[in-house]
Amino acid sequence: MDNERNIDVTVNGRSHSANVPARRRLSEFIRDDLGLTGTHVGCEHGVCGTCTVQLDGETVRSCLMFAVQADGAEIMTVEGLADGGALHPIQEAFWQEHGLQCGFCTPGILMTVHEFLLENKGPLEEEIRHALSGNLCRCTGYQNIVKAVETADRLWER
């Protein structure tokens, strides 16, 4: 294939070296090349936040990046949250508070919340709502997602 580049990335703690076409998006690389299909794609133009992953600890929209731009980066996806069979406290909180229905937007929201709670302890509802405002959910009306973030804040020792 023309225009291929080699990239080295670490995803959820595991190293990968791969040749990717220059136009391959990071979301496609994660889903199709690495088989990590927990990262979903909702709009492909950077609005819905469904494809959010963490790149060197910061959330990015993987549909708006080329895979080659991630060369050398450490990436975390939703598959990196749980510790073996044990859910991450954020995942536990979403389960407990019914913070998801169809679950399609959920991986991106979990990534956003993970970054937000690492930087914020005891956030106010208004702050949580601002933090979530870049992730669209069509099922829940956000009410239980907000509750889940409040619960996660209490459950997660960090």
Binding site: T37, V78, E79, L136, R138, T140
Partner: protein, 775 residues
Amino acid sequence: MGATMIGERVKRLEDPRLLTGEGGFVDDIQLPNTLHAAFLRSPHGNARIRGIDLSAARAAPGVVDAFSLSDGWPDAPPTIPVLAPVDGLLPCPQYLLARDQVRYVGEAVAVIVAESRDLAEDAMELAEVDYEPLPAIATMESGMASGAEVLHDTVPDNVAVRWTQGIGDVAEAFDGAAHVVSDTFRMQRYTGVPMEGRGTLATQDPVNGELTVWTSGQWPHTQRALTAALLGLEEKSIRVIQPEVGGGFGVKVELYPEDVLIPFAALRVGRPVKWIEDRREHMLTVVHAREMDIDLSVALEADGTIRGMRCRLLSDQGGYFRTLGTVNPSLAITSVPGPYRIENYEGEVVCVLTNKSPSSPYRGAGGPEAVFARERLFDMAAREIGMDPAAFREKNILPADAMPYDTGLVSVESTVVFDSGDFPAGLQRALDAIDYAGFRAEQARDREQGRLRGLGICVYTQMASVGPYESAEVRVDGGGKVAVVSGAAPQGQGTGTALAQVVADQLEVPLDQITVTFADTARIPFGVGTYASRNAVMAGSATLVASERVRDKAIAVAAHLLEASEADVEWHEGTARLKGVAEKSHTLAELAQAAGPGGNRPEGMEPGLEIRHYFETLDAPFAFGVHIAEVEVEPETGDVDIKRYVAFSDCGRLINPMIVEGQIVGGIAQGVGGALLEELVYDEDGQMLSANLADYQLPTSLDLPNVEISHEESPSPLNPLGAKGIGEGGAIAGHAVIANAVEDAIAHTGARVRETPLRPAAVWKLMQEAGAASS
């Protein structure tokens, strides 16, 4: 042991896989050797096709196949059928690919199949279609105007069907009225917009020839039947599987051209073919909803008692009538009277064709439109006769002793008969929850200080399930584990958890011993699907009966093994035991083994501890609710802030209140989105101006309130669970209640809310125009 799981806020069994990224949505299914399809789509709202040249596309790198309608069907191409026809509907069906004319932007013209999606899209650039653009019809008014461009020769005035229906003597009701209040309301075009778009993967088994199709849908069995019919195949040669679905909200209850074309392509090329819709395709080609113009009149006695109503409803159907194109107008025209005593009513429906994506049900399906018009008009009527809007509703609402109440109306889906409930008590509870009298006092005080606070009330009913049946099979394996298979096809509602709760009560086994799967035509031969808020009622009742019969069968096997009569055997925590002799017992696993073929069961008993049941009914229950919202309008900008939102619902017996409340709040989110933000905008050429999520505004976490919920449980007599659906109630009431609250906040300026969405600019303009008119 009585029912212990039904009614419990059980955490969902679906969630762990979804939370860890292990859910299997259609695009997560990756088969080796898969090809990818791209659809060449019309850039015109209305154009004749003079020619299609795919030769350069076929020769492009990686392209394996490219075809138009005439390539695929040289002789008589099939069309998508209308499944709920009404008398007089003129034929205006859609081919799977455009034949000689395109009638909306995005209509598929050709399919290109290549080694990757990128290569298929590259090749699309090389396809050539010779279009002769025609004038587009962008509004119902222009479509009905004399001399308008005719979209289908079979529909000379662009009105595909019109009909009237009603009850009582409307002329007499209006002739003798003390007051008649009339107005026209317009609801904009908007739709479901699930976060996962549509998508299909199809492959043919090289050994047995079976075609397997995975689709992000809502009705796999119907999809199988229609796919077989359109492709001229036998149903048994097709297996449709609905994997995890990322939201549907009604817009995936449809047979889309792509649903048939992807399997067709897989058969042509002999390899798996996948198509995953992008968001622009979604906005352009998913079925649209809601766009109606409604003229509504109410005739009143001097004291505000309703004597009768008249309605004329124009429904913008888009370019074609698709499978369920009649449902929105039919449900709308039969939802207008709603939970009030209205004995004289006449409704007229006019279905107009325009150059837009076809319309079809989306959460609420005609309910939001009708309830918006009615609840708006009732506020206006109350204001006109100097009556409080809550008192107006209290005067006219159906009393508890009227139940069951037959409105006399019949939609294409069901008769409109309210089966149970105490509507006045529900209205009172909602008014108490918001402290109605207290609010009115504060509102007057705050208005003097320039704060624009408003309160809206919406009282509604919703068709809370629809027949004709749903299937469930309950099977116990030799290890005592219970497997439930249903023909329902949920899209995130948590139905698997609810059905497991039903089974857990009957068999008295823990939830972790139960698995529930859905929506695979190879696992269960008949199924209907998930729409019209029907899962709890239909799949729930089928599961209840099947699991009761499994328990009865297990008791019969136990009686045989214990050499006792069935009357002497009791069921206790998943085991059958001889009454009073606890050690004489058999576990579910033992009973399943004994019941199996070759086991030790009563003579004449069919082997297997398994029952398949079809719950059949044509009677739809109706749920009831009252929503009250408080808003504040920013005087300088027209921005609407929702301060409080109270939702009272009566959806019969609750299986899992947590799930029910999630449905209520989620539905409200979509109603509020429609009231304040969302709109599918077409320009005069039929070009869509809102074909992405930046221009089509879905509500975010900053736009929606925390909903205060209360319930009453009036069991439905129409099903053994006593359940009624509620999935659509929030979308129905949420739109109207916000519109009412906004008008209430600005009514003193003379402003009247007749259309939505109420974006800040629209509200500001209403206030300015009213202010200009009054000064």
